[in-house]
C-alpha cells in the first residue's frame, strides 16, 4: 500500500470504516426491556404461526430462570431492561438494491456488499436492525434448487415444516440464558437449503448491520446442507459505536448431512460498545465435513464458541480462528467439539493477539464419548502479547471416555521475539515494519483460510494496529 493509500485507510479507520451512523428512521420499535407483552408484540408484528408464539413465550420463561454465566467476562454493563429487542427499518424486504431506501442502500454500499455480490457471491442477504432489507440469490444457483431466503418467509412458506422440524433443535432455549433470550425475541436471519448432491461453487453471504442505538439484534440462521452437497456461507457483521450498550444474541444452526461439506466463515467487526453473545452449532453426519473460519475483531465483550457435534462415523471438523483484542475489549472465544461417531476427527487452530489493554481468552472443550472409537482430535492455540498492559488466557478442557482415541493439545503464549526483529532489521527492514510482518506471519495460517477480500482487510487491520507500536 502506498503512503497515501495507508494515510487514506488510516483516516477511514480513525473513525472506523464501520463506525458511521444513519439517522434512525425505523417504522416500528418495541419498548425497551423484556416482558411478555413485548414478546407477544414481536410475534404479532412478525405474523408468527401459533407454535412459534408459544415457543417464544416458553423461551421467555426459561430466560427468567437461568442465571447469567459466572465463568466469563463481566456483562454487568448490559441491562436487558435498557435494550430494545425489535426495531423494524422503514422498508420491507427487497430483491433489488434499487428498491432499497437510499439511506440504507448507502450504508451497504459503504460496506461494499452490492459490489461483493456482483463480483464473487452467489447470493446475498442484508439485515438492517431487526429485519432483512434485501435478499437475492443468483439465477443459476436458484435453478439448482438451492433455497436462500429470509427466516420469516421460510417459517410460513413452502419450507415451513422443515423449519419447524429444525428450529432451535440444536441450540435449545435451555442451553443458556442468551439462547433463551434469542428464542423469545429472535427476528431476521437466513434459511438455506442445499439439495442432495448440489455443489454451490461460489459463496452465499449474509451481512448484519445494527444501526439503532441501544438495540439488540437476534437473527437466526438455519442452514441444511443435504447429502453429498457442498456450500460456503459467509457471515459479516458491523455496527456504529454508541455510548450505550448494544446486544447481539444471534443463533446459527447448521445441519451437515451424510457426505456433505459446509464451510462457515465469519468476520465479526461489531462496534466496541457491543455485547456479542452469539451461539453457533453444527451437527455433522456420516462422512460429512464442517469447516469453521472465524475472525473476531470487534465487540466490547464476546462470548463465542462454535460447537460441532460429530455424530456420524468418519465425520470431520476443522476450526480455524483468530481473535484480536484491543483497548476496551474482552473477547472470550473458542470452540467445542463433541465426538460421538466412530473415527470422527477434529482439528482446531487458533491465534489470538492482545494489545492496548485488550483481554483475550481462548476457551475450548473436546469431548470424546465412548461411542467415538478411533476418534482423533488435535488442538493448537497460540497467543501473542503485544504489550504488558494486555492479557491473554487459555482455558481448554478435554473429556475423554474411550481408550481407542488419539487426542493432542498444544498451546503457547509469548511475545514477538527480539531476535527475529533484530534479524529483520539487520536485513534493512525498519523495526515497526518488522514487527508488523511478524504479526502478519503469526496470523497467516488463519488469514489464508479467509476469502481473499477478507484476508486483505485483516492484514490491513493488523498493519494499522501495529502502527506506532514502538516506544
Amino acid at each position: 500500500m502506498t503512503d497515501q493509500g495507508i494515510q487514506s485507510y488510516l483516516e477511514e479507520m480513525e473513525g472506523n470504516i464501520y463506525d458511521f451512523r444513519d439517522e434512525e428512521k425505523d417504522s416500528y420499535r418495541v419498548d425497551e426491556g423484556l416482558t411478555e407483552e413485548i414478546v407477544c408484540r414481536i410475534s404479532e408484528e412478525k405474523h408468527d404461526p401459533d407454535w412459534m408464539r408459544e415457543f417464544r413465550l416458553k423461551s421467555l420463561e426459561i430466560f427468567r430462570k437461568i442465571p447469567v454465566p459466572a465463568w466469563g467476562p463481566s456483562i454487568d454493563g448490559l441491562d436487558i431492561d435498557n435494550i430494545v429487542t425489535y426495531v423494524r427499518p422503514g422498508t420491507d424486504m427487497k430483491a433489488s438494491w434499487e428498491d432499497v431506501p437510499e439511506e440504507i442502500r448507502t450504508t451497504f454500499d459503504k460496506l461494499g456488499i452490492p459490489k461483493a455480490e456482483h463480483e464473487y457471491l452467489a447470493g446475498v442477504g442484508a439485515q438492517y436492525d431487526s429485519e432483512l432489507v434485501y435478499h437475492n440469490v443468483k439465477d443459476f444457483v436458484a435453478k439448482q434448487g438451492v433455497v436462500y431466503t429470509d427466516m420469516e418467509s421460510a417459517l410460513t412458506g413452502e419450507y415451513a415444516d422443515m423449519v419447524h422440524e429444525h428450529f432451535m433443535k440444536l441450540v435449545p432455549p435451555t442451553d443458556h440464558k442468551f439462547a433463551a433470550l434469542h428464542g423469545a425475541v429472535w427476528s431476521g436471519g437466513s434459511f438455506v437449503y442445499v439439495p442432495k448432491g448440489v455443489k454451490v461453487d461460489i459463496p452465499l453471504q449474509s451481512y448484519f448491520r445494527l444501526n439503532a442505538k441501544g438495540a439488540g439484534q437476534f437473527e437466526h440462521t438455519l442452514i441444511i446442507v443435504d447429502e453429498g452437497a457442498d456450500l460456503h456461507f459467509i457471515e459479516g457483521c458491523s455496527a456504529p459505536k454508541w455510548n450505550v450498550a448494544n446486544l447481539h444474541a444471534g443463533c446459527v444452526e447448521l445441519f451437515v448431512r451424510k457426505g456433505a461439506r459446509l464451510r462457515y466463515s465469519t468476520i465479526e467487526n461489531w462496534s466496541k460498545n457491543m455485547y456479542n453473545l452469539n451461539t453457533k452449532r453444527a451437527l455433522v453426519e456420516e462422512g460429512a465435513r464442517m469447516e469453521w473460519v472465524s475472525g473476531s475483531f470487534g465487540s466490547h465483550v464476546s462470548y463465542l464458541y462454535p460447537t460441532t457435534i460429530l455424530r456420524g462415523a468418519h465425520s470431520d471438523c476443522e476450526y480455524t480462528g483468530i481473535t484480536f483484542a484491543g483497548k476496551g475489549q474482552n473477547l472470550d472465544t473458542g470452540c467445542r467439539m463433541v465426538h460421538l461417531g466412530e473415527s470422527s476427527s477434529s482439528l482446531v487452530t487458533t491465534k489470538s493477539l492482545s494489545k492496548d489493554g485488550g483481554i483475550n481468552t481462548f476457551r475450548s472443550a473436546v469431548e470424546v464419548r465412548n461411542s467415538a472409537k478411533n476418534a482423533r482430535s488435535s488442538v493448537d492455540c497460540s497467543s501473542l502479547m503485544l504489550d504488558s498492559i494486555s492479557r491473554s488466557d487459555t482455558i481448554p478442557e478435554m473429556d475423554i471416555r474411550t481408550k481407542d482415541c488419539d487426542i493432542g493439545h498444544e498451546a503457547k503464549i509469548g511475545r514477538i521475539s527480539d531476535e527475529t526483529v533484530f534479524y529483520l532489521m539487520s536485513r534493512g527492514i525498519p523495526e515497526e515494519e518488522a514487527r508488523a510482518m511478524i504479526v502478519a506471519g503469526f496470523a497467516d495460517p488463519v488469514s489464508k483460510e479467509l476469502p481473499l477480500e477478507y484476508a486483505a482487510e485483516m492484514n490491513n487491520l493488523i498493519r494499522l494496529e501495529m502502527e506506532g507500536s514502538i516506544g
Binding site: A70, A365, R391, D393, E397, D406, E410, A411, R415
Partner: protein
C-alpha cells in the same frame, strides 16, 4: 456450607460448569478419633518441633488486576493452597508439625515421614517445612496402609513449604494407601529468590485421592519442577489441581504428569500456569501424557495458562489415548510379545518419574505395586 462436604480443587479461572471440572466435592464425614501419628526420621541438624497453628506463617498472594470468572481461591487463604479455602479452614487450629532445615544445611539423606494407617486409624496432619537460606534438603512423605479394620480410612494432609533465598527442597510424595481409603493431600509453597522446589508424586493408592498443589514463585529466578506419576484402576478416583503463580522475574516452572487409567477409573487434572504482572523473562511449561487401557475410564484434563505479562514464554500440551502403536511395534519387533510389551511401556512411563525417589526400598515397593496393579483384578 455442608459440614460433611468440602468444595475443593477449584479451578483458578472458571470454565463452563456443565463440564464438571470447576471444582470437586469431597465427603469428610466420619473422621475417626483414632489418629495415626507420623513416623519421622531425619538427618542430623534438622529441627523438628510443634508449633501452634496461630503462629503459622502468612504468605498471601496479591490479587490479580483482572478477576472476571475467577474464584477467590488465591485471596482467601493466608498461604498458597491447591485444595483451597474450605480445606484450609477445616484443617485450621491445633498444632503444626514444623520441620526446620537450618541455613546452609546440605544432606542427601532425606527426612522421611511415614503416615501408617493401622487398626482403623485416620490421619489429620499439618506439616510446615521451613527451608532456610542456602539449605539443600530432601523429603519423602509416604502414606501407606489403611482399610485394615474393614472400614474406610481417611487421611487429610496439609503441607506448607517456605523456601528462603537460594534454598532447595527435593520433595517426594508417595501414596501407597489401601483400597477404600480417602486421601486429601494439599501442598502450598512460597519460593524466594533463587529458590528451587522439586516435587514428585507417585499416586497409586486410595479409592479417592484429591491432590492440591499451589506454588508461589515470588522471588527472582525461582525454579519449580513438578512431576506426578499416577496409576488408577478399578473404580479409583483421582482429582488434582496444580497452580503455579509466577510473580518473580525469570522464574521457571515445569509440570510433567504421566498417567495410566484402567478399569473404570476416573481422573481430573487441572493445571494452571499463572503469569502475573512483573514476572518478566519467566518461562512455564506443562505436559500431561495419559495412557488409557480400558474403555470405561474417564479422563478430564484442563491445562490452563493465565497471562498478564508480555515478556514470558508459556506452553502447555497434552497427549491422551492408547499406547503408541509405533512403540508397541518396536518392542514386538525385538521379540517381546504384545501383552508383555504393553506392560513394559506402561510401567516404564510411570517408573520414569518414580525412579528419582531417593530411597531404594521405596522405589522397589512402588515398582512392585505398579506391576501388581497392572496385572490385578482391577484390570
Amino acid at each position: 456450607m455442608n459440614t460433611n462436604e468440602l468444595t475443593i480443587n477449584r479451578l483458578p479461572s472458571l470454565t463452563w460448569f456443565r463440564l464438571g471440572v470447576n471444582d470437586a466435592k469431597a465427603d469428610i464425614s466420619g473422621l475417626s478419633e483414632r489418629k495415626a501419628a507420623p513416623e519421622i526420621t531425619a538427618p542430623e541438624g534438622v529441627i523438628i518441633r510443634s508449633m501452634d497453628a496461630k503462629e503459622a506463617p502468612v504468605c498471601r498472594i496479591p490479587e490479580e488486576a483482572y478477576v472476571a470468572g475467577k474464584s477467590a481461591i488465591l485471596t482467601d487463604t493466608d498461604f498458597p493452597s491447591g485444595l483451597g479455602a474450605q480445606f484450609v479452614q477445616y484443617m485450621g487450629g491445633g498444632s503444626i508439625r514444623c520441620v526446620e532445615i537450618p541455613a546452609g544445611f546440605k544432606s542427601d539423606t532425606p527426612v522421611v515421614i511415614t503416615i501408617r494407617h493401622a487398626d482403623g486409624s485416620d490421619a489429620k496432619e499439618r506439616l510446615l517445612f521451613l527451608v532456610k537460606e542456602g539449605a539443600d534438603a530432601k523429603v519423602i512423605l509416604c502414606s501407606r496402609g489403611g482399610a485394615e479394620a474393614g472400614s474406610a480410612q481417611q487421611e487429610f494432609v496439609m503441607t506448607q513449604v517456605i523456601l528462603e533465598k537460594d534454598a532447595k527442597l527435593d520433595f517426594s510424595r508417595v501414596n501407597l494407601l489401601a483400597e477404600d481409603t480417602v486421601l486429601l493431600d494439599d501442598i502450598g509453597v512460597c519460593e524466594a529468590e533463587n529458590a528451587r522446589f522439586t516435587y514428585r508424586k507417585a499416586d497409586l493408592g486410595a479409592s479417592k485421592s484429591y491432590g492440591g498443589l499451589s506454588v508461589w514463585a515470588a522471588g527472582e529466578n525461582a525454579q519449580t519442577e513438578i512431576e506426578t506419576a499416577y496409576l488408577k484402576t478399578g473404580c479409583q478416583l483421582l482429582d488434582m489441581n496444580y497452580h503455579i503463580i509466577h510473580s518473580g522475574a525469570k522464574s521457571v516452572s515445569r509440570i510433567r504428569l504421566k498417567g495410566v487409567l484402567a478399569g473404570e477409573a476416573s481422573k481430573t487434572f487441572r493445571g494452571t500456569i499463572d503469569f502475573r504482572k512483573g514476572c518478566t523473562g519467566s518461562d512455564g511449561d506443562e505436559r500431561e501424557e495419559v495412557c488409557l487401557l480400558d474403555d470405561a475410564v474417564v479422563n478430564k484434563t484442563v491445562p490452563v495458562i493465565l497471562c498478564e505479562e508480555e515478556d514470558v514464554d508459556g506452553r502447555h500440551g497434552a497427549s491422551i489415548g492408547r499406547i503408541n502403536e509405533d512403540e508397541l511395534f518396536y518392542c514386538e519387533s525385538r521379540g517381546i510379545d504384545e501383552a508383555a510389551a504393553r506392560h513394559l511401556l506402561v510401567r516404564g512411563r510411570l517408573l520414569s518419574v518414580t525412579r528419582k525417589i531417593p530411597d531404594e526400598d521405596l522405589k522397589t515397593e512402588i515398582s512392585d505395586r505398579i506391576r501388581d496393579e497392572l496385572s490385578g483384578p482391577g484390570r
